[in-house]
């Protein structure tokens, strides 16, 4: 490029889309943003609501039947409340960090890296903070029901255990595959980029007459 100023002029003078198209696009973007916000709100409500309503069903059944069912229901509820609190904490933390002003590109990259790493941790450990507490909650309730029954149905218990285990293994593998396929490369790229920024800054600061 012989004259960078010519390039700047050419760059800034290029024609864009027509005004009507711009207005349409802004309107469309606004609608999409509002729809997305509503969807996220409903999704959060659904996840938290399903945990709390299942807890309510467990407790209601426990109180009605009493005895071992109540013990199972209380233990199950405690696990479900634990999962709900973890989900709520993650959402609140994300919302709080989204509001933080990011002044420079390195800061934005570091924020992005932390967000990807957090997502990475959550998905990699989905068994421990999500699947296992839910499995234990349901298992505690079923154990209570079976203990209250005069003749426990071992066949049902076996089929239930196999199906639940298969479903949870599938969910876990799905999450791990996403981590390997999408998040690992993102973490590497962000780390490389931050390293490049730091390296170039170090090198440039040591240069006396750069241009």
């Amino acid at each position: 490029m012989n004259d960078f100023n010519d390039l700047i002029r050419m760059w800034q003078n290029q024609s864009g889309p027509a005004e009507s198209t711009i207005q349409e696009r802004i309107q469309k973007a606004r609608t999409q943003a509002e729809t997305l916000a509503k969807r996220v709100w409903w999704r959060d409500l659904r996840e938290i609501g399903s945990g709390l309503s299942t807890s309510a069903i467990f407790l209601a059944a426990g109180i009605l039947v009493g005895g071992p069912v109540l013990v199972g229901a209380v233990i199950g509820t405690l696990f479900l409340v634990l999962v709900t609190l973890i989900i709520l904490r993650t959402r609140l933390q994300q919302a709080r960090e989204d509001r933080l002003p990011r002044q420079s590109i390195p800061e934005a990259l570091e924020y992005e890296l932390k967000a990807v790493q957090r997502q990475h941790w959550l998905l990699r450990n989905v068994t421990w903070w999500y699947l296992l507490p839910i499995a234990l909650a349901i298992a505690a309730f079923i154990a209570g029901v079976q203990a209250a029954s005069p003749s426990p149905d071992y066949g049902f218990l076996l089929i239930y255990t196999i199906l639940t285990a298969a479903l949870f293994i599938l969910i876990r593998q799905w999450n791990l595959s996403y981590v390997r396929r999408a998040l690992d490369p993102q973490v590497r790229e962000l780390e490389d980029l931050l390293e490049d920024l730091a390296r170039e800054s170090r090198e440039s600061d040591g240069t006396k007459n750069p241009v």
Partner: protein, 150 residues
Amino acid sequence: MTLYPMLWRLSGAYTTGSDREDLIQEMLIAIWKKLPEFESRSKLTTWGWRVAFYTAMNWRRKHSRKGNDEPLEAALSAPYPENPAADRLEQVYRALRHLSELDRTVLLMALEEIPRNEMADSLGISENTLQVRLHRARRRLAKEMKRMET
């Protein structure tokens, strides 16, 4: 600079064709969502550029496995850039898409004539370092464009 043409220019440095339309849409959504956070310390367009730029960087990272360049026919059939310098501009866009993230960032800021002190602040570096980085980026852009001509 007005916001929409600026988003149009910025998005072209990351992708082409229908992906470019999608990226602009994402940029607009990001700006719309972050608008309540805007404080009048900088110009709205400069702030908007920054939000759009972060969106573009993230977008590229998430879509990098798909490849960041469309076939030539798709690039030629892009609807908007219709002026005498369109070919030259298309070459600049293609070169920008092939440069590293760092070079592209500095060049895009320089092309939008973002003040040097704001550029340095955004990159978290001194103005001296910025000068070096800009010099290198311009050299790599020229090299890339030359390579494309041959």
